[in-house]
């Protein structure tokens, strides 16, 4: 997708990365649930949230923030590229089930957003007409 920035802008790229990340998250959670009763297994978690926060704290130079409340988009894209797996100790069934349903909601939310984006593009292509 990379170069066709005119049609597929940053938003689409970000949502695409977020979908990949949610897929990875699904696999990580599946792995934790499969190893629920494996002795010595440590639950795994993607480092995305942590990396995202760090990336937002290292203020970028792209946008001027005129208010401390403004969020700098920073390099959220890069945060999603450099995902690592962290080990978080024994598997907790309830935590994993919570993460499972949250991840599923996030995934479906992004797909809906992506469809909205495409429908906006269609409107633009059709010059807002029928």
């Amino acid at each position: 997708m990379g170069d066709s920035k005119l049609v597929f802008d940053r938003t689409v790229q970000l949502m695409q990365d977020r979908l990949s990340l949610s897929s990875l998250n699904q696999k990580v959670i599946s792995g934790n649930l499969a190893n629920l009763n494996t002795p010595g297994y440590s639950a795994k978690e993607t480092s995305f949230e942590h990396v995202l926060r760090e990336s937002m704290e290292q203020a970028g130079t792209r946008l001027t923030l005129s208010d401390p409340g403004h969020l700098d988009p920073g390099d959220a894209g890069a945060a999603m590229q450099n995902v690592e797996l962290l080990e978080t100790g024994p598997v907790d069934l309830d935590t994993e089930m919570m993460k499972l349903s949250r991840n599923s909601m996030e995934y479906q939310f992004i797909v809906t957003m992506l469809n909205k984006k495409f429908s906006m593009m269609k409107t633009a292509i059709g010059e807002g007409g029928l």
Binding site: S23, Q26, G31, N35, K44, L85
Partner: protein, 145 residues
């Protein structure tokens, strides 16, 4: 497909839980078995779970940089747990020794039932993960609709 691995991992969990369920069933069924092929009473069996990397082909390693960190589960072995037999005084039993003592399998049905619940919960959890993966895969087909 990207979620393929999620299905495989969940499937490994389902398989492992089912093996455990089978072992527990065998233990409960043989709670009073005094004769086996080896001549001894039935020995309580237990499963050993082992986590193994979830990638099993070159293309999967090539595709997923994080693939080798994700682990599925495998039943490494089903082993007798080596605890002593229960000794019950029952001179009328055909397998009683000269003192009238029968060696019975050391199976505690409460313990087996507790394990049964755990195995069944693990099975359900893996099933839920698999159902979610399926839901996500179907949702992905809606992109651009």
């Amino acid at each position: 497909m990207d979620l393929d691995n999620a299905f495989k991992i969940s499937a490994s969990g389902l398989r492992a839980s089912r093996t455990w369920l089978n072992v527990i069933s065998a233990n409960l069924a043989n709670a009073n078995t005094t004769r086996t092929a080896s001549g001894k009473p039935y020995e309580r069996r237990t499963v050993i779970y082992e986590s193994v990397p979830s990638v099993d082909s070159f293309s999967e390693i090539y595709d997923g940089a994080l693939g080798e960190d994700l682990e599925k589960v495998r039943v490494n072995a089903v082993v007798p747990d080596g605890r002593d037999f229960k000794e019950v005084y029952d001179p009328s039993h055909p397998d009683a020794d000269v003192d009238g003592v029968v060696k019975m399998p050391n199976i505690n049905s409460v313990e087996e039932m507790a394990n049964l619940v755990m195995a069944s919960r693990a099975y359900e959890a893996n099933l839920a993960a698999m159902a979610t993966a399926r839901q996500l895969a179907l949702k992905a087909l809606e992109i651009g609709k």
